[in-house]
């Protein structure tokens, strides 16, 4: 009996160890913080986020520290006797009202000029109109006649069906791949005009730092940029609940050096021209 017990115990321990050992191999345990991103705004926002985090961390050390000290030092079981006269202390109370005010103002001020920069969409080199639909995106390069839809890639769409029998882990960029990505040039300020056709959506690529709602009947503005030395593919998702397939309308942006982007745009223009002619 005892041997069986010991055997069971050992195999449980061994199993748990094997599971733990296998975890880092297949995992993104490291993805626990905001990405620093690839744009001026995302760097700013990341810096604000980290500053806030460390200020909160410091306050937490002090307040949680005081609570823990009180819980350890003033235990009845250790013979602590209550000091029934500790009821008020005007100076102390004023201090812990005023100090937070100062800290809070200190927290808010650095974000003001960043916010002013975020809201300034002037001087952009390219304007793209982004329209949210249930459940895909539409991109129009204003003034060029280039316009296309961007939907969840077929591979993901098949795998995501209930009972598809396909393990999502085997699908490359599961739920974060589209049939036709948004192309942008690197090192250029790009103005996005956001609107929607049916319900509210929100356009968000974490690596660009910004998120803004696409509201039917209204046009919202924001700007993004990709650092000149960071061409690549960046992925995001709709961030405002927009119905059943809200989780299935990803955003993929491919950033290319300016010359390559211009070549691509010219190609699209020629491709779009016959279509335009036909509609005229």
């Amino acid at each position: 009996m005892r041997i069986v017990n010991r055997f069971l115990k050992r195999s449980v321990v061994a199993g748990a160890a094997a599971m733990l050992a296998s975890l880092p191999a297949r995992a993104d345990w490291g993805a626990i913080n905001m990405p620093r991103g690839v744009s001026e705004l995302s760097h700013d926002i990341y810096d604000i986020h980290m500053t806030m985090f460390w200020i909160c961390f410091a306050i937490a050390v002090v307040t949680f520290g005081a609570m823990i000290v009180a819980m350890v030092r003033f235990r009845k079981s250790k013979g602590a006797v209550a000091d029934q006269k500790l009821l008020h202390n005007a100076r102390l109370e004023a201090t812990w009202t005023l100090i937070p005010v100062v800290i809070l103002i200190g927290m808010a001020i650095p974000s003001v000029d960043k916010l002013i920069k975020i809201e300034d969409t002037s001087g952009s080199g390219l304007t793209v109109k982004v329209t949210g639909h249930q459940w895909y995106w539409q991109y129009e390069y204003l003034g060029t006649g280039v316009s296309f839809y961007s939907r969840l890639a077929r591979t993901s769409d098949v795998a995501r069906q209930k009972g598809s029998g396909i393990d999502p882990r085997t699908v490359e960029n599961y739920l974060l791949e589209v049939d036709k990505p948004l192309m942008v040039p690197t090192g250029v300020k790009i103005r996005l005009l956001l609107t929607a056709n049916d319900v509210i959506h929100a356009w968000w690529v974490p690596d660009f730092g910004m998120k803004r709602d696409a509201i039917p009947g209204f046009i919202n503005e924001m700007w993004i940029s990709v650092d000149a030395d960071k061409p690549g593919t960046y992925r995001g998702q709709c961030a405002e609940l927009c119905g059943a397939d809200h989780g299935f309308m990803p955003i993929v942006v491919v950033a290319k050096p300016k010359a390559e982007f211009e070549a691509w745009l010219e190609e699209q223009k020629t491709a779009a021209a016959p279509a335009l002619a036909a509609t005229e």
Partner: protein
Amino acid sequence: MSHAASHDDHANGPPKGIVRWLTTTNHKDIGTMYLVFSLMMFLVGGGFAFMIRAELFQPGLQILNPAVFNQMTTMHALIMVFGAVMPATVGLANWMIPMQIGAADMALPRMNLFSFWLLAFAFLLLLSTFLMPGGAPASGWTLYPPLVLQTGEAFPLAIFSIHLMGASSIMGAINVIVTIVNMRAPGMTLLKMPLFSWSWLITAYLLIAVMPVFAGAVTMLLTDYFFHTSFFNAAGGGDPVLFQHVFWFFGHPEVYIMILPAFGIVSEIIPTFSRKPIFGYEAMVFAIASIAFLSFIVWAHHMFTVGMPLAGQLFFTLSTMLIAVPTGVKIFNWTTTMWRGSLSFEPPMLFALAFLFLFTLGGFSGLMLAIVPADYQYHDTYFVVAHFHYVLVPGSVFALMAAVYYWMPKWTGHMYDMTLAKWHFWLSAIFVNVLFFPQHFLGLAGMPRRIPDYASQFADWNMVSSIGAFGFGLSQLLFIWLIVKCVRGGAPATAGVWDWPHGLEWTVPSPAPYHTFEKAPEIH
């Protein structure tokens, strides 16, 4: 003589059986009904959460289709907010406010009963929407148009159930205010009143101020849906964002409606188990009042991404951060109440301390969310989900559990199983963190909220979170078992119950007689 005695009994005791619960106007009976109702709704809402976390256990769709998933998140929130947390606080108000201020009952007993049954009916109506063609509402509890206008047959029933909940809440709030203003025992001045009653007095004003606003907002949805008005339809000259402003003008005070009574509870419990009066009583009252006032001028921090003027964003950032000041005062005062106290760690104190730590943690993430540029990243991600679950679950819900552990011996006349209660506490406290802490990581790493399926990079922390959810959910079965055991029997409780009882409720026997303070007590 004997006839007179039996007649007296009849007048003083409750009728037997179901008739008692249908016709009672006794504040203790109504309080019990609210609390039992809240526990039932906690299980229903918890069941929905269970299904959400089961679906999110791994990537891919296994259990729910996306439309049903959205119904689950929507109904989970509506039921937990309006069916579990709010009625629990109303139940506590019914039981404890008259006993804390030395009143014989609530001021408006019939309205009290009416507001309970209205609430029960409202939830019957809301839950029945699952049977409607098109299913239950699936637009999130925030009911944003135009999406909410895509709801099927369930739409008018959901709106009507919200109207009923609102009417019930307003009546409950009026009752609390009238009771506290008129029925305090002689000598019980406002600034002698226990902090739980104070917190509810202020909560009641918040309810009266904002529930009609919510009712107005959903009524506009109703006319947009059925009568072709265009309040929220841009094609007819309306504005979908207007709804968000009106909703959050209600919605932000609403979160304080859920947390202020929790503050009151914790302010009762920490002194009892520190064996010393609350530190800075007046400051505590003033802090609750300031939080309540500020809650009216912060609403747009829920909607920084809708495209607001710069000045508006700065205003709502600053006003939101200001709330940290009175909240900080409360946390520092609770800590100082423990300072130089004589602490013991019975179950109510354990839950109150977990509240103190974990609510503060939720406060920190709240502070981070208040800063606009950073909020552009956090908004509508799991970071927000983690934030508000920290302030609501180990915040409000833990405080409510603390209240049950604190006052249950007074209600039932029995002590409960302390070992079981400690198991319940430790399992809940550990699993609630396993459940919600990883959601901070998920949100920061880029996972949006309200999605039924996710990219594989989010798989690991979602699995951890789901394991925490299953553990937390199952731990609550201990709570129910413990309550049933305590109601049925247990060691008799003394009048004071605890080592250092303070307040009028501990001067009456346990269990509290059906009628208390028929003659007003003397307050010194």
